[in-house]
């Protein structure tokens, strides 16, 4: 594992660029992106389609390598780590919520959450206790033994949030987490993420939805692969 770079930041990207393809077919998706995320923030990463949001979040989460630049995640320079070590960093520190819930259809809500904890080496009994508590925290205490097909879209997304939060991650990364939900469900989901953010934890959410700005501490706007605006709610962002 690499040496710690900065203890005060959960994510730090320096001059990150990403190009897909080679030669005449090369397409630059990100260029010269620098970004820092301290603990205690819910940050929205916004921008139009094709602006590079998903690529940036993939690189920051350590599931895609940049073409150049350096990324530090929870104290580790992941751009110089091998795949196994990056996996370990993700396993210990990150929780993910996606556009679709990506739950295993054969497993109950409880098992979908517990199995991920077991994968993170949590003993089975403890994993089930933690999973139960996480599902109760998202209001699904009465749906522990329901399979995904027996839950609504909003409930499934709440199971996905419980799965992401059950392991007490330092950083929650979300990608269009409300895009498939109605207004009420979207509010519930965002409030859950908002409540998770403490002085020691953060959330980084990619979204198109301006209605979610009220939950944010900070908004970063990306256009044509570059950060064009980075402001906190104390400032005027619009």
């Amino acid at each position: 594992m690499s040496a710690t770079v900065s203890h005060s930041l959960l994510v730090e990207a320096r001059d990150v660029a990403k190009t897909f393809g080679q030669g005449d077919l090369a397409t630059s998706v990100l260029s010269g992106v620098s970004f820092a995320l301290p603990p205690g923030e819910l940050t929205l990463l916004m921008g139009p389609s094709g602006s590079g949001k998903t690529t940036l979040i993939s690189i920051l989460a350590g599931v895609m390598r940049p073409s150049s630049g350096q990324v530090m995640l929870c104290g580790h320079t992941i751009t110089s780590l091998n795949e196994n070590d990056i996996s370990r960093v993700r396993r210990r520190n990150l929780g993910f919520v996606f556009q679709t819930d990506n739950l295993f259809p054969a497993l109950t809500a409880l098992d979908n959450v517990a199995e991920v904890l077991i994968l993170k080496k949590t003993p089975r009994d403890q994993a089930r206790r933690l999973a139960t508590r996480a599902l109760e925290n998202v209001g699904l205490g009465a749906r522990l033994h329901h399979r995904p097909a027996q839950l609504s879209g909003g409930q499934r997304q709440r199971v996905a949030i419980a799965r992401a939060l059950a392991g007490d991650p330092t950083l929650v990364i979300g990608d269009e987490v409300t895009s498939a939900l109605d207004g009420a469900s979207a509010t519930t989901v965002m409030q859950l993420l908002r409540d998770y953010v403490t002085p020691k934890t953060s959330a980084l959410i990619v979204t198109h939805d301006y209605r979610l700005e009220r939950f944010a501490d900070r908004i970063v706007r990306l256009e044509d692969g570059k950060i064009v605006r980075d402001c906190t709610v104390l400032e005027k962002c619009s």
């Binding site: 993939s58 795949e83 996996s87 993910f96 990506n102 054969a106 991920v116 994968l119 990608d175």
Partner: protein, 375 residues
């Protein structure tokens, strides 16, 4: 991961049942074909195995048990001359026909034996009658499975029957001694067989030699091979010669091997298709696990557990099917062996089938990109 893998497998019930059926079908086919192959070999050499002896002596140029020239009288003293030979037992193997009660004719192979001098018994177990019942002149034993063919009742002991144009009497019934050539055996003591076949006293087809010490077999064989009209081989060699002639030379072995291979290929495709489609259907969930921090090995276990489960349960069902088939085949006179070697081949085949079927899915899993979950 075992819980996720197996519950995902059970969740798609139709595909799960199809995959289990595929493994079971392929297993039973491989076991049946391999079992028949071994069974045919055993059937073709059953007489040699039952008679025993360390060295077999026969006329020069003999390639298999079923076809040989009679040896002249007096050979007994030649083959028993070596001081390592403890006992020489003559065996007659000749072809003739039986007149059925309705006036028809059926070919048969007459096997005449000298009772094992040490044990005083015949080399076949009897389903009905006693070995001593064959001591009287012109007494024969036939196999219980051939009664219908000879148009005989279920309890034929004591009935007269015309064999080779001579009158004989059924004194006993054997069980499960049926010929690979489908021509029925008729068993008799040597003197009776010689009379039926019209051979002279002491004329035999084979001499089975019991040695005082098996280590001297090579020496005994080379001493007999010096005789211009004789050849000698060990019991194992003679069984191999006979089995190879019928099972390999006739093409039966190749046919059975091809069928077994076909079963293996079909089973591999069915299982492979099921595992692949299960993996494909869960690719986003697997990518999610990878993003969360699951290693490639943990994802490979997803497929490995499914393939392993299908192999064990499908293989067990296939074995039960094969055992049922064996009982059915026995009723029509076919021997299907499920010996340790056949089961080993079956187990190895199932393991191979599921490993190959799982390989493509494992590659798919290894190529899962965690970044796909963000798309």
């Amino acid at each position: 991961m075992i819980s996720i893998a197996l519950r995902s497998l059970f969740h798609e019930r139709g595909k799960f049942i199809a995959a289990l059926a595929g493994v079971a079908f392929a297993t039973s086919l491989v076991l049946a074909q391999t079992g028949l192959f071994v069974g045919f070999r055993q059937m073709a050499t059953a007489v040699i195995s039952r008679v025993g002896g360390d060295v077999w002596v026969m006329s020069k140029g003999t390639k298999l048990l079923d076809f040989s020239d009679p040896l002249s009288a007096g050979i007994r003293s030649t083959v028993a001359a070596h001081n390592c030979v403890e006992n020489a037992r003559g065996l007659i193997f000749g072809w003739t026909s039986i007149r059925t009660p309705s006036g028809g004719s059926e070919n048969c192979q007459v096997i005449g034996f000298e009772p094992n001098n040490r044990l005083g018994e015949m080399p076949w177990s009897l389903a009905s009658g006693l070995p001593s019942d064959l001591h009287a002149p012109m007494r024969v034993a036939i196999d219980a499975g051939e009664l219908r063919r000879f148009e005989l009742p279920d309890s034929p002991v004591g009935r007269g029957i015309q064999i080779g144009g001579r009158d004989a009497y059924i004194a006993a019934l054997t069980q499960g001694m049926r010929s690979f050539t489908v021509v029925p055996y008729v068993f008799a003591e040597a003197a009776t067989a010689q009379r039926i076949l019209g051979w002279g006293n002491d004329q035999m087809s084979y001499w089975a030699l019991d040695l005082k010490n098996r280590a001297c077999a090579t020496d005994v064989i080379s001493s007999i091979d010096r005789h211009p009209d004789l050849q000698a081989v060990t019991n194992d060699q003679f069984r191999k010669m006979t089995a190879d002639y019928w099972v390999v030379g006739s093409g039966a072995g190749a046919t059975l091997a091809f069928s077994a291979l076909l079963g293996l290929v079909v089973g591999t495709f069915i299982v492979g298709q099921t595992l692949y489609s299960t993996t494909e259907n869960h690719i986003r969930e697997l990518a999610t696990l990878k993003a969360i921090g699951a290693s490639n090995m943990e994802l490979v276990r997803f497929v490995a557990w499914q393939a392993g489960f299908l192999a064990v349960i499908g293989g067990a069902i296939g074995l039960l099917l094969a055992m049922t088939m064996r009982s059915g085949l026995a009723m029509i006179g076919l021997t299907m062996s499920l010996s340790a070697s056949v089961l080993t081949v079956g187990t190895a085949s199932v393991a191979f089938m599921c490993a190959v079927a799982g390989y493509v899915s494992m590659r798919k899993v290894l190529n899962v990109e965690a970044s796909k979950v963000f798309v």
